[in-house]
């Protein structure tokens, strides 16, 4: 099995924010924290694009590298998780993360910063699977229920894909080939070995 991955298809995302709502509801995310957000590029300009952003569960996660108490770990399936009992709330991870994934609730006394909170790929945390403690600290453990993250399963246009990296990549490639554009983007050849990598389609034909 490959690693668990998220991919957001900017050609399909309609900025409906259902992924954000699904995540908030499923995991009962605290006030002031959005584990998932929709970012719009060139907002208001014709041709604007939106993407849904959360923790990308990096293979070489910078949050994990900078954590002074080593509260992060990566599961066998490639999901980056953390232990809130070990976290000291220093905030280094939020500065290191390029996606703004680690966030800190501030509903404590005098607005004190709490323990870090981030997307768990709906995989809970290091408490007993399905336990109340796991739900309160990290949210729902859908992976252990044989399900995928709620954000992706709730996405109305299926812009947000989540699951086994091989399957997700296969679905995305099929879409690009069907729509006849997209393989010209940087990195396509590295990812898929396309003959057309880095070049625009010839007469609208994607190879």
């Amino acid at each position: 099995m490959a690693r668990m991955k998220f991919v957001c298809d900017a050609e399909r995302c309609i900025e409906c924010n259902s992924c954000v709502t699904a995540c908030k509801n499923e995991n009962e995310v605290p006030w002031g924290v959005n584990r998932r957000r929709v970012v719009t590029l060139n907002d208001g300009v014709p041709g604007e694009k939106s993407i849904s952003v959360a923790c990308m569960h990096c293979s070489d996660a910078p949050c994990m590298a900078v954590c002074p108490v080593q509260c992060f770990y990566r599961t066998e399936e490639g999901v980056v998780l953390h232990d809130k009992d070990v976290c000291i709330g220093c905030g280094y991870c939020s500065y290191a993360c390029p996606f703004g994934a680690p966030q800190f609730p501030s509903q404590g006394t005098f607005g004190v910063r709490g323990k870090m909170d981030k997307c768990t790929f709906c995989a809970g945390g290091p408490e007993t699977n399905g336990s109340e403690a796991e739900f309160e600290k990290y949210g729902r453990n859908r992976l252990a229920e044989g399900k995928l993250p709620a954000c992706a399963e709730m996405c109305s246009t299926k812009a947000l894909l989540a699951g086994d990296g091989d399957v997700v990549a296969d679905i995305f490639r099929t879409r690009v080939v069907q729509r006849g554009k997209g393989a010209e983007v940087w990195g396509w050849g590295t990812a898929y070995g396309s003959q057309q990598a880095g070049k625009p389609p010839v007469n609208g034909v994607q190879k």
């Binding site: 099995m1 996660a61 994990m64 954590c67 108490v69 080593q70 509260c71 992060f72 770990y73 990566r74 599961t75 066998e76 399936e77 998780l81 232990d83 009992d85 070990v86 995989a123 809970g124 945390g125 290091p126 408490e127 007993t128 699977n129 399905g130 336990s131 453990n141 992976l143 252990a144 229920e145 044989g146 399900k147 995928l148 992706a152 399963e153 299926k158 894909l161 989540a162 699951g163 086994d164 399957v167 997700v168 679905i171 099929t174 879409r175 069907q178």
Partner: protein
């Protein structure tokens, strides 16, 4: 006599260089509690599911869980499967 020795040395050198391509273990940091594997289910009993567990796979079976996630991704997120 000299040539096989040189080849063996070259292979050994190449193999030692490949070590750099490996990954550091990141599965569990020091001091962090052990996390249960996801295919062990969410029930308080060992290798058992609850009413919320998706049907179609055997809880406790890693291969069945992996296949379940792949099938669920294809069925739920790849509409080309439905249309064609």
């Amino acid at each position: 006599m000299k040539r096989p020795g040189l080849i063996a040395l070259g292979v050994a050198l190449a193999a030692s260089c490949l070590v750099a391509c490996g990954e550091k273990p990141q599965t569990n940091a020091q001091g962090v509690k052990r996390d249960a594997v996801p295919w062990s289910g969410t029930s308080s009993q060992q290798n058992a599911g609850t009413v919320f567990t998706a049907p179609g796979w055997k809880v406790g079976d890693k291969t069945a869980w992996q296949q379940q996630l792949k099938t669920r991704t294809q069925n739920g997120q790849n509409e080309y499967n439905k249309e064609n």
